[in-house]
Symmetry: C2
Subunit: 226 residues, 2 copies
DNA sequence: GCAGGCATGCGCACAGTGTACGAGTGTGGT
DNA sequence: ACCACACTCGTACACTGTGCGCATGCCTGC
């Protein structure tokens, strides 16, 4: 008993709980994340978790900050603020895509853990090469983060749709297609039709980069000044 | 019995259920939305709801489309595509802000109800004044919608934070402030400090419009072309 | 008028959730 | 040696979504 408790189960800790929770959420989705399940994964009793965290809400905040901390900060891009900001945005996007549950939590409470602050500081440092106006720098970073967040949310929605129905991409397209054909045949939405019929459907990466490029160009041009 | 069933409770219907669900989610948040609670609000049995909808997932999809349909389409802006697109973005934002639970659902399955399609068609019509390239129009609309979604998600996170803690804005600022002071005092994040100390904290409307203006300027300048 | 089918409403039950409470246990300080 | 403490965890409670099957009232065919 002594050996088992000391050896095989080297006691719980906040860090271990958070790591197990992140792994579980990554593997099976945020809906599968329950306290009982985390405890089972750790080989401990369910309520033991509550000795190290105050509740599920706090656990999720800790998970968010932990994920923000797992990637190292991108290298200093020198004077090219635009490339630097694009790199920040891509890293942020990669973090969100790697942990699909993250984007879903973003509209709950704002994360302000140490790792989040570190990333924010880095982004502000990059923008500082472009403008020394603290208020403006703040808004620029907000705008870029905001765009990335929305972009990933939309991308995940698409991905989730075909995952939850268990269809391949082609099957999904067919399924939606027959429904959409009704709408198209009604002829009431000509522009929507054109989008379906004429437009190429760019992949998520291309869409992301297109919007990011527009946003950065607008920033560079000095838009948004009073 | 006959009278009661016929008069006071004029039978359930999909539409009534959806409306009750939207009202409840607006008033008490998405977490308070349970099938039992909706049934109680309607004065019916819980499982009666399942005669009209297949389950909670479908209910939420119906709720999303219902909300998209409650605002009339903005007037045709004529040839000023930029003003028209800005109007579309503001309407979208208003819908999301009026129903905080909406943004949280956006990263689940994509809504493709009739009302959503109608709005999409309208947006594409506006952009058609700017470019006739269907693929490019598609990406432009995506980028704007994406930005609005992210912007609202961030705004709601702030709002939710102070609502859930039951603090006023000042109390919240103080509470975060003391925590942040630790970080600031450490001196490790100079740019973050400058943001806290020097930057004005623009309200959500200003932040939204700043980013939107940047994005639209970038689009107008032709950014994102290969 | 009446029988039967059918749509609808709903009580019960089941497996699952977050977490409060308090009892049990091994460890370190005095 | 003793006590206090940190920790683990079984039990319990009030919830959740929803499948099953029964009851009831209306509509149709005779």
């Amino acid at each position: 008993m002594r050996d088992r408790d000391r050896g095989d189960r080297p006691a719980l800790s906040e860090e271990k709980i958070v790591r197990a929770a992140v792994d579980l959420a990554d593997a099976e989705g945020i809906d599968a994340l329950s306290m009982r399940r985390i405890a089972r994964e750790l080989g401990s009793g369910t309520t033991s978790l509550y000795r190290h965290i105050t509740g599920k809400d706090e656990l999720i905040e800790l998970m968010v900050d932990a994920v923000y901390g797992e990637r190292s900060l991108p290298p200093d891009p020198g004077d090219d603020w635009r490339a630097g900001l694009a790199a920040v945005a891509c890293r942020f996007r990669a973090s969100l895509l790697g942990h699909p549950w993250l984007a879903q939590q973003a509209s709950r409470r704002p994360a302000l853990g140490p790792n989040v602050i570190a990333r924010l500081d880095h982004a502000l440092a990059v923008v500082d090469r472009f403008t020394h106006d603290a208020t403006r720098a703040n808004m620029i970073v907000s705008a870029v983060n905001t765009y990335v967040l929305g972009s990933v949310a939309a991308e995940l929605a698409d991905r989730e749709a075909q995952r939850s129905t268990g269809m391949t991409e082609d099957e999904w397209r067919d399924s939606v297609g027959t429904y959409v054909r009704h709408v198209v045949d009604s002829g009431r939405y000509p522009h929507f039709n054109r989008r379906i019929l004429d437009a190429d459907d760019p992949n998520a990466d291309a869409r992301f980069e297109f919007g990011l490029d527009c946003l950065l160009s607008g920033i560079a041009s000095g838009a948004g000044a009073w």
